[in-house]
């Protein structure tokens, strides 16, 4: 995946470039809004990471102009502004995700990978498959090896989100945001307990584990 990082903190952007390289991605960096816009406008990137406050031109205006020119490349906004309304403003400007500083790199990596449209399931897919596990989005049924598994509505949505991003790490906050639609940080490991419940339902009686815990990052569903 090719990533464009528009971030004015030289140290942070150098660290990000190196860290993304270690995760197998290539990243270009721009230190101000104008350079960032010019690079983004070439249209050769899979994901933009845009700091909200930039010299010469602020991040939101960069994204807004890219969108007005028909550029649909997913953009993740990094910001020190953390109120709910700031997030709403960011997403309204055309951002696809919003991450508040300070953040863990594992969180940023997971979110950027999920934003990449070249991987993961498509919106039009009605059935997600991971190994012998199948989820039908229309009939709301889940089967494994042909056997039907009964899930609570929330468990279904949890599994749906995980399977949509099969092979990708999803973090706890991503799950809380996308499955519960809340953006706060729960104090306790509430998400972990939901995951272990789901895991017991889809793995009990089967040899092969599908739902994996990625240490220090989150969860991933994959077949192998």
């Amino acid at each position: 995946m090719k990533i464009l990082i528009i971030e004015d903190d030289r140290e942070a952007s150098t660290f990000l470039k190196k860290a993304f390289a270690e995760a197998g991605h290539t990243a270009d960096t721009a230190l101000d809004g104008e350079t960032g816009f010019a690079l983004a406008d070439t249209g050769t990137y899979d994901v933009y990471i845009v700091d909200r406050m930039l010299p010469l031109r602020d991040g939101l205006s960069v994204i807004r102009e890219l969108r007005s020119k028909g550029n649909k490349t997913p953009a993740l906004i990094l910001s020190a502004l953390g109120e709910v309304d700031d997030r709403v403003t960011g997403l309204r400007a055309g951002g696809d995700d919003y991450l508040i500083k300070p953040y863990a790199f594992s969180e940023l990596l997971a979110r950027v990978e999920v934003l990449n449209r070249r991987t993961g399931a498509k919106d039009i897919d009605t059935v997600y498959k991971v190994g012998d596990l199948e989820l039908d989005r229309l009939s709301h049924t889940v089967t494994r090896g042909g056997e039907e598994i009964t899930l609570q509505p929330r468990e279904f949505r949890l599994l749906e989100y995980l399977m949509r991003h099969a092979g990708q790490v999803v973090t706890r906050t991503m799950l809380l945001e996308n499955v519960w639609d809340y953006h706060f940080d729960p104090q306790t490991n509430v998400i972990d307990v939901h995951i272990s419940r789901l895991r017991s339902k889809i793995e009990k009686g089967f040899d092969k584990p599908l739902l994996h815990t990625v240490r220090g990052a989150g969860y991933m569903i994959r077949a192998d």
Binding site: Q187, T188, H194
Partner: protein, 468 residues
Amino acid sequence: MHRLRALMNTTAARLSALFILLFAACAVVLVVYVSSLSQRMITTQTQEAILEEMASLTTAYQRRGITGLVRMISIRSRQPGANLYMITDHNGLILSGNVEMIEPGVLDIAGWTEQPFYYSRYGETSELQEVHQAVAHVSRLPNQMILLVGRDLGEPEQYRYIVRRALMAALGMMGIGAALIWFFVGRKALKRIDSISEASIQIMGGDLTRRLPVSGSGDEFDRLSENLNAMLERIAALNEGLRQVSDNIAHDLKTPLTRLRNRAEAALAETGDENAAREALERTIAESDQLIRTFNAILMISRLEAGYSAEATTKVDLSAIVGDVVELYEPVAEELGVMLHSDVTGSIEVNGNRELLAQALSNIVDNAIKYSAGSREAPSVTVTLANSADAVRLEVIDNGPGIPQEERDRATERFVRLEKSRNQPGSGLGLSLARAVMAFHQGELVLTDGRNSAGLTVAMVFSNGKNG
């Protein structure tokens, strides 16, 4: 000189100067009006008196001819304070009367003299001879004789002089009075303001316990001082809060930061065992995540408490939030052996921020589950939502150990972890955040006993007046 300029600079002085000007202008207008009115009245009176005189002289002339007229005039002329009389023949020779000399030209025009003229009376010695002013009526008799009847203007002249003097005296007294008032009021005001600014200089100098002087008279200076004192009180309270928070932050973050540092150091020392080093690093990251979380919570509380949070509020379905949070925590509760259930009927809406309310409620539920988990008999947490006439109450009731009455107020303060719970995990910010969220919603966080006076009830109370 400096003091005088300072006095001039006071509002009181400026106001009194303005009032003096206004009053003086009014007095001048009044005096001018009164004197012109009385002038006109005197003129009318004079003219009427002359006309009357004329009429009686004409009658005398008609009855007794010129001889009778001349005689009458000579009698009247000699009376004390008499009017002016003069009768001449066709050559201008004075036949009778009390006028010796008259401004030339006065007799040429019949009727009222247009302007006062000068004359002198008969019998006045040449040394004492004064020149008087008078108005008169001139009429021609049939045989070319001229009759003049007039009145001296000495009287109205004197009247005008009196009025002018009265005006001067009044203006002078007004000026003196105003200057006195100006001096005393202005100086008093100046003194009060001086003491206020002196006090504020000391306060600015760092003495935040100092207050502005209040004289007790309840005047506007007192009100100003009282309000400023209240403001200082609030600033001092905020300052104290800030100081306490920074103390607490220093205290509460020092421990994990030290631990973090030690762990990193230990990881560095783990040269042989890569797994151990890795584990140490992972724990380090987890710990710094917790630190970030704590910082975020502190930031949020401060923003909400300072009242400058820009979070938007809309109609929020509280019942849905209760449903979400209970559903979110249900597996955790079950794992800890706590019965978590909700008692919500219908849908109750308040005006608020969904994210903040959900976070506040989840903090409270989180606490309730953690603390009741240890209780001996069937730990349970119940969330109830009820709408009454004056308030919407969202209660989280547990049957844990509860919080002693006297410690409840402190329980919602930042970083306060009551003695019993020192060993429990958590940042100690959960209830403080909930309280700040409720303050943001113009509501209250109320701590009372749980059911059967065991455990704890934490109520989020929304006043219906504002939230409907």
